[in-house]
Amino acid sequence: GSNYSLDGNNEVHPGFIQRRLRTHAKREMQREILSILGLPHRPRPHLSHGKFNSAPLFMLDLYNTISSDEKSQVQSMLDGYQSMLTTQSSPLATYQETAFLNDADMVMSFVNLVEYDSELFPQQRHHKEFKFNLSQIPKGEAVTAAEFRLYKECVSHTFHNDTFLLKVYQVVKEHSDREADLFLLESRRLWAAEEGWLEFDITATSNLWLLSPVHNLGLQVSMETSSGQSISVKEAGLVGRDGALEKQPFMVAFFRISEVYIRTAR
């Protein structure tokens, strides 16, 4: 049935009769397809930063992984293994994501809503905050896996062979006059010369945010040099909002759909 190749150049099978739909028929078809996709209306995204920044690129990589896996199942297991290897080597979708994909019906990526450096309290240690709006996740769904993804650039010209200690915290409670209460999610030692995507598992945190949105106070990231000196994440090479579009930080959540969507036959 796949009369179009899944690898992007979707030329339509010559056997199909190309027919231009008239306006009314087109609107009818649009309503029909939206009902099949389970969407109340057609989304109108504000693609201010162009269509393909980091999150869509990552998701497109996942989509192609699924499509190539489907094809590989039709062709042979060997191909499937091959597509897994290529997936592993690709900078975006890693083997881990492919594993998550196998038992997820839905994947959503969330762009970072707010981010500012710690200029509020000069004596405060450097940190960067990230927040994500999970309200679009269908009610009652449980996240089977969630990742926070940060891109690190090489800064060996400044820090040579130094290493950094990166810490990711969940913000538990905010205070107006002092630092927020934090819960350490993960700490990781990195080389200054390292370059690429860093993935942090925030599955438990995401499920907490889903269950009780009032606790969704975001994440904090801080960096120290090997001598324990706090430095700004930007100096350490972490890409933030002012960095390249395709390296913007984002979050991705994998989950199974519990409700089975039955469409009324027409």
Partner: protein, 139 residues
């Protein structure tokens, strides 16, 4: 009890002229039903044609095939005369009023995945099961 009826049916059948069973050979069945036999009809829905390429990232469209056509005996390889008679009888026992009519419906369905933006410019990758009809048959 279906005994009486069945005897009645047998009596009817025995009085009918026998040309029915001598009439159409398999080839004739095919010729007479060729044009409307149950089969998969191809239909491609292009998201681009629907003007949705601003929010649907992939795929460009999908094969929304469907099943249509008459189901005539022999329904398919598994349903030889004996099996057909058994099915007919069982259905009849369950619901004598119903005259079971085989219907042309999908026998193999595949999923598709759609990648799209939501209103908040988040990106959603969703798997839709049973979207593409791969094969049709008589149920």
């Amino acid at each position: 009890s279906t005994g009486g009826k069945r005897r009645q049916q047998n009596r009817n059948r025995s009085t009918q002229p026998q040309e029915g069973s001598m009439g159409l050979g398999v080839a004739d069945y095919n010729n007479s039903d060729q044009k409307t036999a149950c089969r998969r009809h191809e239909l491609y829905v292009s998201f681009r044609e629907l003007g949705w390429q601003d929010w649907i990232i992939a795929p460009e469209g999908y094969a929304a095939n469907y099943c249509d056509g008459e189901c005539s005996f022999p329904l398919n390889a598994h349903m030889n005369a004996t099996n057909h008679a058994i099915v007919q009888t069982l259905v009849h026992l369950m619901n004598p009023e119903n005259v079971p009519k085989p219907c042309c419906a999908p026998t193999k369905l595949h999923a598709i995945s759609v990648l799209y933006f939501d209103d908040n410019s988040n990106v959603i990758l969703k798997k839709y099961k049973n979207m593409v009809v791969r094969a049709c048959g008589c149920h």
